[in-house]
């Protein structure tokens, strides 16, 4: 772009995107979260239509806004426990994921150069199928008459089918499977660009292979670790599909609670308040992540 007068268009695109697809929906949801539920269409009040009601009436209705939905989040233990359980499930699967993904990414980064594109391809291959279909597929693997149980039974490893589907274990399996690439790829990119001679230098100065890993490789891969953890943790907290399809009635996650408020109870204001609160809860790790990225870029220069 040589014409400086038109550069602002390019710069404006991401802001415009954020405005249209994030900020405006956010304001609508925020407004609903301050409303009261009604048995009506739409199922909340107040509603605003200055052309029908006139401006003064419209402004007067601002007084009807209430914080009751937010206060309810603290009163009813289902919300607090949903949040805590979501954070726990997302957090523990992120940690488990790190243990699975790190060796995988390390192996990929150490593989012969000609293999690496193929290995990366294999990691992202599942994305070619819809997320929903892949999670559905796990039902037929994990169910009592499913693939896993029939295999274990026929091999004589177990006598009775294992109950995995509709438990938290199935939710963990679903999250670990679905989000693996989001952990592997940032780890791989951090490990792959590492200068091999750094590890040789560490060995030369008296490190065994394991010491060289902990003193050089791992600290230098930390940006990848942090990026991967956030990329898994943040979407996993709000996950709805996996607990809904694979989890049982005892699996409480905030995404599911929100869904129930919205569709089962038709309580749009409560569901909106849950959504806004979730956003605020996730804001903290997102900001830490942003901060970390900025620092990375600074150090890279």
């Amino acid at each position: 772009m040589t014409n400086t007068n038109h550069r602002w268009i390019v710069r404006a695109i991401p802001y415009l995107w954020t405005l249209v697809f994030f900020l405006i929906p956010f304001i609508i949801v925020f407004k609903i979260s301050l409303s009261s539920p009604e048995i009506a269409q739409p199922p909340y009040s107040p509603t605003f239509d200055p052309f029908v009601d006139g401006w003064s009436e419209t402004f007067a209705r601002f007084a009807e806004f209430t914080s009751a939905n937010y206060l309810r989040l603290f009163d009813d233990s289902i919300y607090v426990s949903s949040y805590l359980s979501s954070i726990w499930i997302a957090g523990s699967s992120t940690v488990m994921m790190l243990f699975i993904a790190y060796p995988l990414a390390y192996g990929m980064a150490r593989a012969p150069k000609s293999w690496r594109p193929t290995l990366v391809m294999m990691v992202i291959l599942p994305f070619w199928t819809s997320f929903l279909i892949r999670v559905y597929a796990w039902i037929s693997i994990l169910s009592e008459e499913g693939l896993l149980n029939s295999m274990l039974l026929s091999l004589g490893i177990i006598d009775e089918p294992l109950v995995i589907l509709s438990t938290n274990a199935a939710v963990y399996i679903g999250i670990l499977y679905s989000y693996l690439p989001f952990m592997v790829l940032p780890l791989y990119s951090a490990l792959e660009k590492m200068d091999e001679s750094l590890i040789e230098a560490a060995k030369d100065l008296g490190c065994t292979n394991i010491q060289a890993f902990w003193k050089v490789t791992f600290p230098l891969s930390l940006p990848g670790v942090i990026a991967g953890c956030f990329l898994v943790f943040i979407p996993a907290v709000g996950e709805f599909v996996i607990p809904d399809l694979l989890g049982g009635s005892d699996t409480v996650m905030i995404g599911k609670t929100m869904w129930e408020e919205f569709f089962n109870n038709r309580d749009w204001p409560a569901a909106s308040a849950v959504a806004i609160a979730l956003l605020i809860v996730l804001m903290i790790p997102i900001m830490i992540f942003q901060n970390n990225q900025a620092k990375q870029q600074e150090a890279g220069q």
Partner: protein, 383 residues
């Protein structure tokens, strides 16, 4: 070529000529294959304590592979390497009494200068006080006091090179391996650093093995140079011998600039060899011993600075004289190199020191000139 700073110790230093001297590093019949490619092909070499030894050659000649075998990053396919009598086979890099300074410096980017230098000492589990003292000593040695808390990316190239050096010598290894240590520095800094390295090596009394493709660097610093080609040593000699008595056209051509004049041997006795050459259209008389026989093809290797150039014919124009036309003059500042097209075919170069400021050259382009040289100024080569 800059003069070497020779101290009184260095002047008499030639343990390779002493049959009773025990080498520090002994490389015996070492080969290294990568698949079907032979990087190092059956080489043997002794390096002595306190020696500054250079492995010199073009890229791909096997010099880096040989050094990496010393450090333990590659295992020889055949042969053995020992240091101070200890066979290194099966000994991993972290247990070898050598340290390496990497071409890329390989400084740990997440550690400060101080931590980088202390790294090897901490791995050795030295007491904390000793580590601090040693790090301080190293910083002083490489003149980087005040930079202890910087990170590598906050340093200039020259400073990074010093940190890498300090880190490699902090453990006081028996042998320091340097892989193209000055390759990333600009010319001026490189020349300064060459002498600093030399001083350091002498004051530490350490054995240095350096890998380089830069012949100036090797000539300036090394006690002995091994010229490598295709995985083998072509010649192992002190710098002056390498320059004045190359064993082959390859070495002669690789080290400095040289004229190679092809001829037939007409006579070889009593330390005097006579060659007949079409290039000069006359006889070449060379002093020296050689196994050449009459009728053999041989090359008279003559450095350009040992050739005189003149406009008038010499007393005996049939011996050690070539006639031609000045084709080009390369002005390098301290010398001017005259490229002369010989009447007998081929070109010869003569470099003349510019002892005065040039206002007008006595010899110019297109001039008819006579090139002459003394019988002991060149050497007869057969390969």
């Amino acid at each position: 070529m800059a003069a070497k700073s020779i101290g009184p110790i260095r002047r008499k230093f030639a343990p390779w000529d002493d049959p009773s001297a025990k080498p520090l590093i002994r490389i015996e019949n070492v080969s290294k294959n990568f698949g079907s490619f032979t990087a190092v092909n059956n080489v043997s070499l002794d390096i002595f304590e306190r020696e500054f030894f250079a492995l010199l050659g073009p890229s791909g000649c096997g010099k880096t592979t040989l050094m990496r075998m010393l450090a333990g990053f590659e295992t020889p396919s055949a042969g053995s390497i020992s240091i101070a009598g200890q066979d290194l086979a099966g000994i991993p890099p972290h247990k070898r009494p050598v340290n390496m300074m990497f071409q890329s410096y390989a400084l740990f980017p997440h550690m400060t200068v101080e931590k980088n230098i202390a790294f090897g000492l901490e791995m050795e589990k030295l007491p904390k006080g000793e580590i601090t003292a040693r790090v301080e000593e190293m910083l002083k040695l490489v003149k980087l006091e005040g930079f202890a808390l910087r990170k590598p990316h906050q340093l200039s190239g020259g400073q990074r090179q010093r940190v890498a050096l300090a880190r490699a010598i902090a453990k006081r290894p028996k042998v320091l391996l340097l892989d193209e240590p000055l390759g990333a520095l600009d010319k001026k800094l490189r020349e300064e650093t060459q002498f600093e390295l030399l001083d350091l090596q002498m004051s530490l009394g350490m054995t240095f093995v350096i890998v380089t493709h830069d012949q100036d660097e090797a000539m300036t610093m090394a006690d002995r140079i091994a010229v490598m080609d295709k995985g083998q040593f072509v010649q192992i000699s002190p710098p002056a011998e390498l320059y004045e008595q190359p064993v082959s056209k390859y070495v002669a051509d690789f080290i400095g600039d040289i004229n190679l004049i092809e001829g037939r041997v007409e006579k070889n006795d009593l330390g005097k060899i006579i060659l007949g050459s079409d290039m000069t259209g006359g006889m070449i008389e060379a002093s020296g011993e050689s196994a050449v026989k009459n009728g053999d093809t041989a090359w008279f290797a003559l450095r350009p600075e040992k050739v005189s150039i003149g406009l008038s014919p010499p007393e005996n124009p049939s011996v050690n004289t070539a006639t031609g036309t000045v084709w080009d003059i390369g002005y390098v500042g301290d010398v001017s190199v005259y490229h002369v097209r010989l009447d007998g075919g081929g070109t010869m170069r003569a470099s003349i020191a510019n002892t005065r400021r040039i206002v007008e050259r006595p010899i110019s382009w297109e001039d008819k000139v006579f090139l002459t040289w003394a019988p002991d100024s060149g050497i007869v080569l057969t390969k």
